[in-house]
């Protein structure tokens, strides 16, 4: 049902001074009496950092939780792969960090396209996350005195990043998973693994349950609840190749969108500068090399195209390129930040030098990340202690030894800042439907800073939703909608019909084949740099490909068994719709900001040029039906505390 004409987005940002908003809000919102919490049931989709922390915390409070994931175990959610670390404004290093500074850096890093109040709250609760994780037994890195160790990460000028080797996401997720497991044992969480949500059900305008498919038996099932929380991760895999896990997808968020939840800033995607370059057509995913490598590695390409050509043909070795013939372009262009400029800036510059023909590697789409100076300065042992596992991983994948020859890297799709629009309570525009973690749009604006996604996922799950959901539930009757309600039957039928449609098509092309082609269109026209012309062309290409997808797809097997190609086909179908919306959003935003670079809008020296007068808003899109253009709603962003400036890292 379309929203009525005078619908206004209400972010529900509490009034009062920035530093007091959250405390005041916690006091003002309704509470559910401890004895009554057990009368409510909450569905949580996802067991990543956001979902696992939310499920555990809600269950500890006394709510009954039903949690879902599509992997065979909750512990395998994509969050497990995060390497570098998690930010928190602890100021343990006495180097001038504070809640305000983390807030400021995050708003600035996001190129002024996020909400001040949300970001401030995120910075405030960041300190609690570290306490929580340590109490769970997360073995963060420590100093000789036994206190926690920090590093500077992703261009921050203070050391506020906590880490556990290069496996911070793993350790934080295992912490949250252990808390979740404890609640499973206590009977407060019912865990459904290998079960995928395929629709959300809305009755009387409120979210009241989901329809799922059991991935082993194929059974389609309905579950009702008093509220539904989505923590289903990001949609970077719309590009086919990304650093995301193979299964990461947009389906849960997209189904919510189709049922009325507005989708915000879909075109804001993050391209990470340090990934292992593509090696061939068969490539199934891209591997991230942690950003921390930029602390010691120096990025360069040859000054001269002819030298790059020789390197590409292997007629010359990188170490034979004389110092004078190398262009350490980040250090040259950004003397104060050097190799540590934010991700969007580093990525775009890598693309530029490769477009000039100075790229290296067999495809010419790579730049060097060179550790030889660091090894000469600190010794191999020191570098090995810091990055050993990353160097091993690089060698395993490429067959080259980064202690002896520079690494080669190239940008790759990594994270999606866009996602379901949520208010300050993390509720979408559908009452009772919440979105946490990467699947919402909330805190990172147009560009996410390193080590801030783990922080946001856990902030949302441990410290925000447990409070804000009470405000909604306290107003709901104990009796929940029955899963036999007509609305569930209709949703189940919709799911079954779309499965049948895919299975009965019996076309010629495989899902991967379509997905690869879709991803290529997105990467070429809606990736690191975009133009109105390219986006117009891409939109038509996506439409045409979608028409073919709906006629010519080949899915083998049946609906009532483990069928991995069917799972994939269902996900790719939603990627097609999302792709078009991303293109429309990128086209509408006539400015460059953060990860969104429109070639038409740049400063004379090639930096992103924002248009604060006309685009200082969140673009929230409303779904109006199959094949119809979506409707744009705007949430204006007010900056009371942070002064809008041109980001400069020079």
């Amino acid at each position: 049902m379309p929203l009525d004409d005078n619908f206004q987005l209400d972010s529900k940002i509490p009034s009062g001074p920035l530093a007091e908003k959250w405390d005041q809000h916690k006091f003002d919102i309704k509470l559910v009496n401890p004895a009554n919490k057990r009368k409510y049931e909450i569905i949580v989709i996802g067991t990543g950092l956001a979902g696992a922390s939310a499920s555990a915390s809600l269950a500890e409070l006394g709510y009954n939780v039903r949690a879902f994931c599509f992997q065979d175990s909750a512990r395998r959610a994509h969050s497990i792969a995060a390497q570098g670390g998690i930010n928190a404004a602890k100021n343990y290093q006495n180097d001038g960090d504070s809640v305000y500074r983390l807030f400021y850096d995050t708003v600035k890093g996001g190129d002024y396209r996020s909400r001040e109040a949300n970001v401030y709250r995120l910075s405030q609760v960041s300190v609690n996350i570290i306490d929580q994780a340590v109490a769970q037994g997360v073995p963060f890195a420590r100093e000789y005195g036994g206190l926690l160790s920090n590093r500077s990460f992703g261009g921050a000028q203070v050391s506020r990043t906590f880490y556990a080797k290069g496996q911070t996401g793993q350790q934080l997720l295992l912490g949250a998973y252990s808390a979740l497991s404890r609640q499973v044992a206590a009977g407060k969480v019912t865990l459904h693994t290998r079960e995928e949500m395929l629709d959300v059900v809305i009755v009387d305008g409120k979210a009241c349950g989901v329809v799922t498919r059991n991935l082993i038996s194929g059974e389609i099932k309905s579950y009702s609840a008093h509220a539904v929380v989505l923590a289903s991760g990001g949609y970077g895999n719309v590009f086919y190749l990304s650093t995301n896990a193979m299964g990461s997808n947009v389906t849960a968020a997209w189904k919510a969108h189709r049922k009325g939840a507005l989708f915000a800033n879909p075109c804001f995607t993050q391209i990470h500068p340090t990934c292992i370059p593509v090696s061939g057509h068969y490539q199934s995913k891209l591997t991230l090399m942690s950003e921390s490598l930029r602390n010691d590695g120096r990025v360069w390409v040859p000054k001269d195209i002819a030298v790059s050509e020789k390197l590409r043909k292997k007629e010359m070795r990188p170490r034979d390129v004389a110092e004078a013939d190398r262009d350490y372009y980040l250090e040259r262009k950004y003397p104060s930040f050097g190799n540590l400029v934010p991700r969007d800036v580093a990525s775009r510059n890598a693309k530029d030098v490769c477009d000039e023909g100075r790229g290296v590697g067999k495809t010419g789409l790579a730049v060097f990340l060179d550790f030889s100076d660091a090894i000469n300065r600190d010794g191999r042992d020191v570098i090995e202690a810091k990055y050993g596992n990353l160097f091993d991983m690089y060698k395993q994948i490429t067959g080259e030894n980064p202690y002896e020859t520079p690494m080669m890297i190239y940008p790759a799709v990594h994270y999606t800042m866009g996602g379901l629009w949520v208010d300050y309570n993390l509720m979408t525009t559908v009452p009772g439907l919440y979105a946490l973690g990467e699947c919402n749009f909330s805190d990172h604006g147009a560009n996410r800073l390193g080590a801030s996604a783990l922080m946001q996922g856990l902030a949302d799950g441990y410290f925000v939703i447990p409070y804000t959901i009470g405000d909604y539930l306290a107003r709901q009757p104990y009796k929940k909608v029955s899963a036999d309600h007509q609305a569930f039957k209709e949703a189940e039928k919709g799911v079954k019909d779309s499965i049948d449609q895919l299975l009965n098509m019996k076309g010629e092309r495989s899902v991967d084949d379509f997905h690869r082609e879709l991803g290529k269109i997105m990467w070429d026209y809606c990736g690191m740099s975009r133009t109105a012309e390219g986006l117009t062309k891409a939109r038509q290409m996506v439409k045409d490909l979608k028409v073919e997808f709906e006629k010519n797809l080949k899915v083998i097997g049946s609906a009532d068994e483990l069928n991995q190609t069917l799972e994939k086909a269902l996900r790719v179908k939603d990627f097609f719709e999302l792709a078009e919306l991303m293109i429309v959003d990128a086209f509408e935003r006539n400015e460059s900001c953060g990860g969104h670079f429109r070639e038409e809008y740049q400063t004379p020296d090639g930096e992103a040029l924002r248009d604060d007068e006309n685009y200082r808003y969140v673009a929230a899109w409303e779904y109006l039906g199959e094949g119809k253009d979506e409707k744009l709603h705007k949430e204006d962003l007010d900056f009371e505390y942070v002064k809008l400036t041109q980001r400069s890292y020079k």
């Binding site: 395998r76 037994g137 100093e143 252990s178 497991s181 994948i397």
Partner: protein, 255 residues
Amino acid sequence: MKFTLKIWRQAGANQSGELKTYEIDNISSDMSFLEMLDVLNENLVQKGEDPVHFDHDCREGICGMCSLYINGRAHGPQRAITTCQLHMRSFNDGDTIVIEPWRAKAFPVVKDLVVDRSAFDRIIQAGGFVSVDTGGVPDANLIPIPKDTASEAMDAATCIGCGACVATCKNASAMLFVSAKVSQLAMLPQGQVERYSRVEKMVAQMDEEGFGSCTNTYACEAECPKEISVTNIARMNAEYLKSKFTSSDSFAGKS
């Protein structure tokens, strides 16, 4: 490169399975093992045959979802990596490669190469946690932890729960997996309060799931993609023994 693949095909949990032979050509040495299987599956789909089902997700050696018994070894011929990190350059052109699922009573086959490892989750649910609720915990720097202790705990915590230890053990014992979690928490101050009840509960659940006993062959350590050390098993045995002299958790370790 060109290979002959002999792959375990089994349509479902209650059906019998068999090794089927497939020929595959034009494989690049830079391809990962799972990408090679992707190519095979693409070919099978073109021919209208059911693709080979296998578990995978992160494809970078950290989620623990991929498995596969390759030429008689868990995660294939190389040490200290998972199947998803294995590349075709580790094989010779023309090789025959036998690919089977994890085999253990506690890990029943779901389909083809996919097995059910939920027993591991139930062992963690039995006690693999510190019983703290969200909020109300002390400041993270309140309790200093010696750097070496923290990093030893980290080494144990690095386990990805893939199940290679079980698959490779002739007794299908889960001791390496269980002991890694027990050790991590036993070494850290936060794990002390429930130290003894934890090991008892986790071991009891492990036995109930039908994993075999440990006869110290150390095959698990040799095949573990994360090189989890068998010293964890020794530590767990000691913890278990101590727990038997302890009626319940207490600060003295005995009461």
